[in-house]
Amino acid sequence: MNAGLEQRPPARTHVMDPIERTVRWILLCGIAVSVALMAAGLVLGVARGAALPRGVVPLAEIPRGLAALRPAAYLSLGLIVLIGTPFVRVAGSLVVFVRARDRRYVLVTASVLLVMCVSVLLGRA
């Protein structure tokens, strides 16, 4: 598939602005950490001859599960990191907008983060 596409001229590099750099960096870290945790969970599961667990571990019990090398704890934390990455990404772009003194988008991004948190809280009830 790539053979045909490589006939085209090579892509020019886009110069990323601070927010693009920040967002990309956060995403790459989030993905790397979550994949590493899920891979660790899978390896531990295979090592112990256990099937994939059918439920996630509640947040409070994860540290103990990690210490006990329980696959479910690693898989759960991997999923939590994956789910948490967009939150961190929004928070990261908020920081960049604050630094750039871009008032309008500080307000916009803060509202997004606020609504995210509020709906999570509402959903728990």
């Binding site: 892509a11 886009h14 996630v56």
Partner: protein, 261 residues
Amino acid sequence: MAVAVVAGVFGSMLGVGGGIVMVPMLSLAFGAPIKVAIATSIVCVIATSSMAQTTFVSRGMTNIRLGMLLEVATCVGAVAGGVTAVLIDGRVLQFCFAAVLVYVAWQMNRRGGDVAPVRTGALEACYYDPAVGHDVEYGVRRTRLGFVLSLGAGNVSGLLGVGGGAFKVPIMNLLMGVPFKAAIATSNLMIGITAATGATIFYGRGYMDPHYAVPAALGILAGARLGPRLAVRLSARVLGIIFQVVLLVFAVLMVVTGLGQ
């Protein structure tokens, strides 16, 4: 997992989450309980978005400011979804949703090619499009109308749990004058944010099942590396045609789900 790879390629290429396909697939073909299927599909959307954005952002294709602005409307709309649920019957809504999808596909088809980028002074951005071989500079039009419609789209998707990207891309492209590729990339950014909120709630309620979610997430992450690369290189016209076909498939699935209830 192979299914997840394919879903990752298509979802990340078109800026849609694909929950409308993933949920019935997981529950019918893989026997996942419906709530677990939804939770897994939401995790897939996050994985698609996070992975695809690493490419889209580095190419300057994502209009982050526009995304955040419309996301305010989408989030508020989604939260208000519960209010609408009381007012309108779910099945009526599903049929309306399907009708709108068909209408959007028809409009996109009638338009033929991509919108001509115009500089408007609002939320301007620029990216290099290898398919046309030069930089595309554009501004955003009708920001207010787009905001209001995103509110509605968020509301409906909050209600049905699907349909984020399928509406966001056409709203940005057809109404706001955002070039198709930038609309895809920006929609992809937004669906990740909406999905993360939903996923947190599903996790807290214990519907997350690693048995489905972990293989699906890993598959999607692999697939979503390829999708954006295709989106960057293919011409907007070809992408548009694929998008229209996907909209029609979504519409059919929506009607089938509606009838099945």
